[in-house]
Symmetry: C2
């Protein structure tokens, strides 16, 4: 019998998330996670959480959490939107803001989820190639489009752009909505949050997964003009009113209020990054100037896929992308100093053998 119901199934190419190993002995430098635990104040809130309150639905408007984020960024709670991780927030932004017949534009080498969302939501898109030194050419973004999304700093290149670049981009795109995805900005990038009053068509997306060590808690946010945020709220409330659960809100609030711990751990990651960049260059690697918690590197004359696989056998997991233009590069998340010393020792061993 023919099964006609199969005609109604949505046909999408499944996105495959990066592998997570259950082996506790590995050095995990493959998912851009933070090597330090979340703020002790966030941990305290979690371990003392009033669990009987879980029988209630969460606050759909996340009033207290939005206030805390607004205070940190010196903006209003009405400028803040919250979601279940920044992937959820960006997916909602695509649905809310990219409703033109014209293609949206983003770099060819960038976060791999952008084309996936375009396919899912049937949004036309066009890529602008990065330059040979992996920079985004802002002049490419002058032509008419249905929207712009750029990660700043970009991934996996680790490179960041400054205020002048962002303002040029915004001035070239006054008829589109421009999303700046700032997943990695806290590690030394320029944040466009200061520009939201000047550019009403600007949306900045952030996450608690990287600089705040809360990848397991799923907290993402968007910052923008009140008008854009209210559109996001309406679309979110048409999809799922309760995207952020009660525990995530409480833990996230404690985390953003602990500025001291945040600054201390971010500084540690940056210091380690600078040291490892120096050491890798000394060994002969080409390492891009990272503004993130990872490095993007290659070695002239060595096979990076082989290096990646060799390290994996040694229980050191980094990331390799089998993608044209970057298929002889590796992405290395910054771990603790101890982890990075093991990584360096193994790397020296590899170089001595190959």
């Amino acid at each position: 019998m023919e099964k006609l119901w199969k005609n109604n199934l949505r046909n999408v190419e499944p996105y495959v998330p990066g592998e997570q190993s259950k082996n506790k002995d590995i050095i995990k430098l493959n998912a851009n996670e933070n090597p330090y635990p979340p703020s002790p104040k966030a941990i305290e809130v979690l371990n003392n959480f009033n669990c009987s309150s879980l029988r209630f639905y969460p606050d759909a408007n996340a009033v207290d959490f939005k206030k805390a984020i607004a205070k940190f960024y010196n903006i209003q709670p009405e400028n803040v939107f919250l979601g279940n991780g920044s992937d959820d927030v960006i997916a909602l932004c695509f649905q809310s803001f990219f409703n033109s017949e014209k293609p949206i534009v983003f770099p060819d080498i960038t976060y791999s989820f952008y084309p996936v969302w375009c396919n899912l939501f049937k949004i036309p898109y066009k890529n602008h190639p990065l330059s040979s030194d992996f920079r985004i050419n802002v002049e490419d973004y002058k032509e008419e489009n249905g929207g712009v999304i750029i990660p700043n700093p970009n991934a996996p290149t680790s490179l960041g752009e400054g205020k002048e670049f962002i303002e040029k981009l915004l001035n070239y795109n006054q008829d589109s909505i421009v999303i700046i995805d700032e997943a990695y900005v806290d590690f030394g990038g320029f944040s466009s949050v200061e520009l939201i009053d000047k550019y009403e068509n600007l949306v900045v997306v952030g996450t608690f997964s990287k600089s705040r060590s809360l990848a397991g808690m799923r907290i993402g946010f968007a910052i923008g003009s009140k008008e854009l945020i209210s559109v996001l709220e309406a679309v979110k409330n048409s999809y799922n009113s309760y995207t952020v659960n009660s525990v995530s809100m409480a833990v996230g609030t404690a985390s953003i209020n602990d500025k001291e711990y945040f600054e201390k751990t971010v500084s540690k990651v940056i210091a380690t990054r600078e040291r490892i960049t120096y050491e890798l260059r000394k060994l002969g690697f080409t390492v891009l100037d990272s503004k993130t918690n990872f490095l993007f590197a290659t070695y002239n004359g060595k096979n990076m896929k082989d290096y990646f696989e060799w390290l994996k056998e040694q229980n050191v997991f980094i990331r390799y992308f089998n993608i044209p233009k970057i298929d002889n590069y590796v992405r290395i998340t910054i771990g603790t100093d101890e982890e990075m010393n093991v990584f360096l020792d193994k790397t020296k061993e590899y170089l001595s053998l190959n």
Copy 2:
């Protein structure tokens, strides 16, 4: 200056979630929440959670949690899909399974999110009116359609349908995907989970928000044939790979493994429901035969909107819907026996005054 970027904004009618009061002294019978706390074993897991692991992303495949759910329902982990609350799961089902030009069908009086998702995802739909005694007429669901969704038990009517009804519905709709939304089934309804092997086009959706007292944790699931579940997984992974966070998975696993506490609290809610049904009928109310954790009631000759508002002034919150056909009914969530005694006393006071 004309702001052309506004043309690209998505225009949706915002869905307004039910009100949550910050007043701790109210008796809250308005959101179908469970009056009892979550399983003590779930609470223990939360309060002893290894917080430093939050720096890692959650398991995108939720292997352990799916195994626990599969064990409870005596199915395979490949028959289980997980999401960020059942609203998230049903929204993903709409996107995954309702891709026909023909309208999907559901009752006119039912969960108010169904038409909202149809509008958001541009899915055509058609309502079949409930009978005058609020039953779903299965013969209405014989005509060609693009999909079927029915809550069983239905809300806000509280009425449940049995196996014969569901099998008729499935036999009439062999060319469509049929979703049975079982948010309230644990309070005495018939669960269609036992039919998933017989009907490959059947999807059953459940939630931890009602019978498991975890509304604040956001856990929903779908159960169906491996083929349908794999389509849901592909669409989910195209949207957001990490919909359920690490804490929710751990707490949810402990909750579903504690069958004894689950059965005990569900029985308590059912016993209270039967007592209150009896008492309200004795007072002159018409109360439908509930298979849920709430009652749907009216009183011939009394104004239910007025009754609802009067109770609210007395700090007893129930739910009233200003919707044709049910605009003289109220929905009353079953609370603890103590809460329901206050509710009954206030109700008697109202009746003596009006």
